[in-house]
Subunit: 150 residues, 2 copies
Amino acid sequence: MTQKKFTEESDLSLKLFVVLTRALQSVEKQIIKDIKKHGLNLSEFAVLELLYNKGDQPIQKIGQKVLLASSSMTYVVDKLEKKEYLKRRACSEDRRVTYATITEKGKILMDDIFPKHKEAINQIMAGLNSNEKEAMIEQLKKLGYYAQDL
Amino acid sequence: MTQKKFTEESDLSLKLFVVLTRALQSVEKQIIKDIKKHGLNLSEFAVLELLYNKGDQPIQKIGQKVLLASSSMTYVVDKLEKKEYLKRRACSEDRRVTYATITEKGKILMDDIFPKHKEAINQIMAGLNSNEKEAMIEQLKKLGYYAQDL
DNA sequence: TATAATTAATTCGAATTCGAGATAATTACG
DNA sequence: CGTAATTATCTCGAATTCGAATTAATTATA
């Protein structure tokens, strides 16, 4: 009998990875569909949401939060600037830094789509109840923090 | 007092989405680093892993499992074929279909890297114990299945 | 059976992302 | 102080992904 008597820890970890990937892809697909209706892609939305909810940010900081490379940030900020949803603003204390600021037009857009977006996510997440969500948030934080420091 | 007395469900859902995204990105970043060492990207690895563990598959089926568009599948399969890790094989019953088959060279590669990959994931997932992993798998399945059918 | 609808794979062009290298500014330190 | 190291942004080319349209084959249906 060469069969294993119980599942190895590494099989479980692999399974978790696969399920985690699948779940997020399912969820993300819906979200992207939702955002696309408003003429933005996920990265553009993520940047705009950050400025909308957290105020002006150096481009570099935005990249850290939305997990895009600096070269990608230049591209995304360019696009949003062309659409007039944000403006670049020089930093006077440190002249290497450029802030991104949401414009009035950008605010108006986000006033419209952010609540809808939030509700759409809520619908998508309706497979879990409040307690399950709370629990999962805790677990995922543990996992995320741990993986980050490897 | 206009302040909310408790967190809305939609805030919780949003939080869960953000944490889910962050956690997976942290984890995925490590995985990609691991796979890159062997000269493959995540999509190439996913395709090869499927053939390695589940045997020959029609290209179309592979795309469904690894969540890539059909045009992307053509691209990835082309690359793997050039590297001689898989071969295309015509299906005689249905001549629209092309199977992908892992080659001996592909098997040898996967014999080398799959166990390492699995162990790497296991390391990355070490922030959670077995019970926590099992629980999270169940929750994520619920979430993923639900989101899929929206 | 002939025609219509569906399905699998591909081609093509566009969008997005990255990494490496360049530039300019700031900070650390001998 | 002046030089070295670091930091923020950008440019450029390559890789990856997608969607729409195409081709060929199969299945459904009038």
